[in-house]
């Protein structure tokens, strides 16, 4: 039977929006993770400095006592 119906195309913009939201979500996730790692690294560095300073002070104190 020769009948050809037409239909409205489904809009593409909801898919584009979804992809954009996913991209933004992934970007935010990675950025947040990177910040967490940096904070942890900074904390480790901060932790180690007093120890080094204490050791250095102790060494300095020892040296002074030797005089």
């Amino acid at each position: 039977m020769a009948e050809i119906k037409i239909e409205k195309k489904k809009p593409v913009w909801p898919w584009i929006l979804l992809v954009l939201v996913l991209i933004v979500g992934v970007y935010i996730y990675w950025t947040y993770n990177d910040n967490l790692n940096e904070t942890e690294q900074n904390e480790m560095v901060t932790d180690s400095i007093p120890q080094m300073n204490e050791e250095f002070n102790e060494m300095e104190a020892d040296t002074t006592s030797a005089y």
């Binding site: 039977m1 050809i4 119906k5 037409i6 195309k9």
Partner: protein, 173 residues
């Protein structure tokens, strides 16, 4: 050919419409006459948005049809014969969708009720010009020269004619 209100659109120009997913898109298919001779190729689909379907196939006719150089059938009374002949560049013709069968496996449009001479004697138009009801009526007269429809159709129900419904057209005597 101008008309006050556009009622036919090439599907190509309606960017927000497409052929329904379970229906064949016959653009590019060969059109064959009653004797299975190729008379042209479907170049576009003419649709009416109100009824949401294709009403005519826009056919780029084969060169042999143009070379046959027959005068068109069914000149309107008010038109001079010189205005009515097929001119250079007029190489498209419309076929109502109800007058054809679709051979999906071979991608052919079969116009079983229209012979080669009828095709060559049907008024053609230049691609890109908008169609009006006068042209449509002239074409329908040419295809229906053997059988004159009983009913009278006005603009409102023009596309309820048998020629636009395969079931109704095939039952016509």
């Amino acid at each position: 050919m101008k008309n006050e209100e556009k009622h036919l659109y090439n599907l190509n120009e309606l960017s927000d419409y497409k052929v329904a997913s379970d229906n064949p898109d016959v653009r590019g298919w060969d059109v064959r006459d009653a004797d299975n001779r190729v008379v042209g190729k479907v170049e576009n689909l003419l649709v009416n948005k109100n009824i949401q379907r294709v009403v005519y196939l826009d056919v780029h006719v084969d060169k042999t049809i143009i070379d046959a150089n027959h005068d068109p059938y069914g000149r309107p009374n008010h038109m001079d014969i010189r205005e009515f002949v097929n001119k250079d560049g007029e190489n498209h013709v419309i076929i109502p969708i109800g007058m054809v069968n679709l051979d999906k496996s071979n991608k052919n449009v079969l116009a079983n009720g229209i012979d080669y001479r009828t095709f060559s004697e049907t008024k053609r138009y230049q691609h890109g010009t908008s169609l009006n009801k006068e042209y449509e009526t002239t074409v329908l007269k040419s295809y229906n020269r053997e059988v004159v429809p009983d009913a009278v159709y006005d603009d409102e129900n023009f596309y309820e004619r048998d020629e636009f419904d395969r079931n109704k057209y095939s039952k016509r005597g």
